[in-house]
């Protein structure tokens, strides 16, 4: 997982609340065997509408999504985070995130930045009135700047640390690689192995 310190990119104002994971990526995209390439499924239903924000040239290449409250509700699919990241989104800003989505985001390297409802509204308005403007996010300082705006965001300290260090679950466990090796040395020799394949 790539470490996250600061990011600057075009802000996308998504003025909707309760953006559930079925909207982020519909179930039909889950049959795939790959872990990347889900960008075409991102907001698939909404993107069929020419008036949808991502169909506006000014926002198309955006990487900081500013949404309404309760982002990421519904099914626990990890694909929602993959789809956002595959599209190029690095930060989602919302006044409230669904728990599982927030957890999946932290694991996948996507920053879920929680702001107050008032600040969210200010960001949405600014981006709507200034299409193509950039948003800068500083994780260490927990600060978002955009035009004249400078607002604080919340993130739990554990997730912040993981993102700053770029540690995914596996990397976290591998910090205990020595303990794993030690444990393996004490395992009973009677335990079965399958033997590696001939290939």
């Amino acid at each position: 997982m790539k470490a996250f310190s600061t990011h600057t990119g075009v802000g996308i104002p998504l003025r909707r609340s309760n953006v559930d994971t079925d909207q982020i990526i519909p179930a039909v995209y889950l049959k795939r065997i790959s872990r990347t390439g889900f960008e075409d499924g991102l907001f698939a239903a909404w993107r069929a509408d020419p008036a949808f924000v991502l169909n506006d040239e000014a926002y198309r290449a955006g990487s900081v999504l500013v949404a309404g409250p309760d982002f990421g509700t519904g099914s626990s699919r990890e694909h929602a985070v993959w789809a956002l990241m595959d599209y190029g989104i690095r930060v989602v800003i919302s006044p409230r995130f669904a728990d599982i989505f927030r957890g999946n985001a932290g694991k996948g390297g996507l920053l879920a930045a929680q702001v107050t409802p008032d600040d969210d509204e200010l960001l949405l308005k600014w981006l709507e009135n200034h299409p193509g403007d950039s948003v800068s996010v500083d994780l260490a300082e927990q600060r978002i700047t955009c035009g004249p705006l400078s607002v604080a965001f919340q993130i739990d300290p554990y997730t912040k640390w993981r993102l700053l260090e770029g540690l995914d679950d596996i990397a976290l466990t591998l910090r205990h690689a020595d303990s794993i090796t030690q444990f393996e040395a004490t395992r009973s020799a009677l335990l079965p192995t399958v033997g590696a394949s001939a290939a």
């Binding site: 990890e78 694991k107 596996i170 466990t173 205990h176 794993i180 444990f183």
Partner: protein, 473 residues
């Protein structure tokens, strides 16, 4: 204070423990199949990580494989792609695979035990919720998600939060004609599909001790249908006798040492469970489901319940929805429900004993003309064994179809599916809407009930059948 079996196995596998963090547990055996592994392997590739212990990882093709014409390429492109991807991944990462057509191929939860890879006291995981099956040997075994599959491939460990323990004690002796499937369906109906949530279930008591290994696997298999992540049964002589002599079982002095260790795994007398449920095994009768979750079941002698009879509002609505989907009227005798299809198979009831029990009912009888019956062995070994015993002949003479091994109609990822509105008596484990095919209707039953149902065309137990004609030849 004493410890339960589950706690002993857990404690013996802790690699790292720290305040406020989940325990890091070592995994003794990781089983994989084609559906939940592709993205895990891709994650490894992206991060440039190897598989830590290919020698503790075993793959088999089961969910997608056709049960007919297995010598030909898989026709469905999505299925074929998943299977081909598994083959490429196993070759790349050095993992042993039992592909379609191999003598060892089969449903992942049938293959592990039959090779002696499932042993008491082990931790076993698989990207499949019915991994609980392996708990029948006194192993701590549970299903995991795709990112956890990747985690185990890379580290051979899993970070886990502790669970609670529940004892399910089954007293007395199961009456003749009542199988472990009836027992577990009755347990689920009693504690509900959420009753086991957060718990590891330990099945104990006289009735459990009297069961064969295969019957015990059927019970642990469906722990997940009660909401539990794992189910366990203490290892005893029955367990040891089953394991002894299998390919991966210890031999000679190692065997004696292993048995001694296994005997120490059982729950201490003074251990305390977080919850306890007692069931009178001697009062059980054949049990079937009428609804669309495994908790919506009743004795075969009962009738379809009236949704109004449920005190709980949620249950009442669920029952209403289920009856509408199942196209059943409250008050209908379960025995009067006509089926179109009978499915004998799955990791719940696709083992040799299940096939034998069904064949005993079918011998010398003819299938109801309006019913089709599919018999799908859980593994190629089960298939070969059944053919050696002539069971395939019994099934085909009866009018059933004899197929090759796989998950098949348990979930309908291969061509074995129900058509909309079709009704099936199935020995599998999930009766969810559309599970066996879009619009299909599922009644979960035991192998002998499946067999008797194929004879009469309506849900039936062997006791409902006319006496078997004298067996000729």
């Amino acid at each position: 204070m004493g410890r339960t079996m589950a706690e002993k196995v857990w404690d013996a596998h802790v690699v790292h423990r720290a305040e406020g963090e989940p325990d890091l547990l070592y995994i003794d055996m990781h089983l994989i199949h084609e559906v939940t592994s592709p993205q895990a392997f891709e994650g490894l590739r992206q991060a440039g990580r190897p598989v830590r212990r290919p020698d503790l990882t075993l793959a088999t093709e089961d969910h997608n494989v056709p049960t007919l014409h297995i010598d030909q390429p898989i026709a469905d492109p999505t299925s074929r792609k998943q299977v081909e991807t598994l083959r490429a991944n196993c070759a790349e990462f050095g993992i042993r695979l039992y592909p379609m057509g191999d003598a060892e191929q089969g449903i992942v939860h049938v293959v592990g035990p039959q090779r002696g890879l499932t042993q008491p006291g082990m931790t076993i995981v698989c990207g499949d919720s019915h991994t609980s099956t392996h708990g029948a040997f006194g192993a701590l075994a549970f299903g995991i998600g795709t990112s956890e599959v990747e985690h185990v491939l890379a580290t051979q460990t899993l970070p886990l939060r502790p669970f609670k323990t529940m004892a399910i004690t089954v007293t007395g002796e199961l009456p003749h004609g009542v199988s472990s499937k009836d027992l577990i369906l009755a347990v689920i109906a009693k504690i509900g599909t959420g009753g086991g949530q957060g718990y590891v279930l330990e099945y104990r008591g006289e009735a459990i001790r009297a069961l064969s290994m295969e019957a015990r696997m059927t019970i642990c298999n469906m722990s997940i249908e009660a909401g539990a992540r794992a189910g366990m049964i203490a290892p005893d002589q029955t367990t040891f006798d089953y394991i002894r002599g299998r390919e991966h079982a210890p031999t000679g002095a190692d065997w004696d040492a292993a048995v001694e260790r296994w005997q120490g795994l059982v729950t201490d007398d003074d251990a305390v469970f977080d919850a306890e449920v007692v069931i009178d095994g001697s009062a059980l009768t054949p049990f079937v489901t009428w609804g669309t979750n495994p908790g919506q079941g009743a004795p075969l002698s009962a009738s379809v319940p009236d949704p109004e009879s449920f005190a709980d509002e949620g249950e009442r609505q669920a029952a209403q929805r289920a009856l509408a989907y199942m196209d059943l009227a409250a008050g209908t005798l379960l025995r009067d429900i006509r089926v179109d299809t009978v499915f004998l198979g799955s990791c719940t009831n696709g083992r040799i004993e299940d096939l034998r029990a069904a064949a005993d009912v079918l011998r010398g009888r003819r299938i109801d003309p309006n019913v089709r019956m599919l018999v799908v062995p859980g593994s190629m070994r089960v298939k070969v064994q059944a053919e050696r015993e002539g069971l395939d002949k019994v099934f085909t003479d009866f009018g059933a179809e004899w197929r090759s091994a796989g998950c098949s109609m348990c979930l309908g990822m291969n061509p074995d599916q129900l058509t909309p509105g079709e009704r099936c008596a199935s020995t599998s484990n999930r009766n969810f809407e559309g599970r066996q095919g879009k619009g299909g209707r599922t009644h979960l039953v035991s192998p002998v009930v499946a067999a008797a149902t194929a004879v009469r065309g309506t849900l039936s137990a062997p006791a409902d059948l006319d006496p078997q004609p004298a067996l000729v030849g």
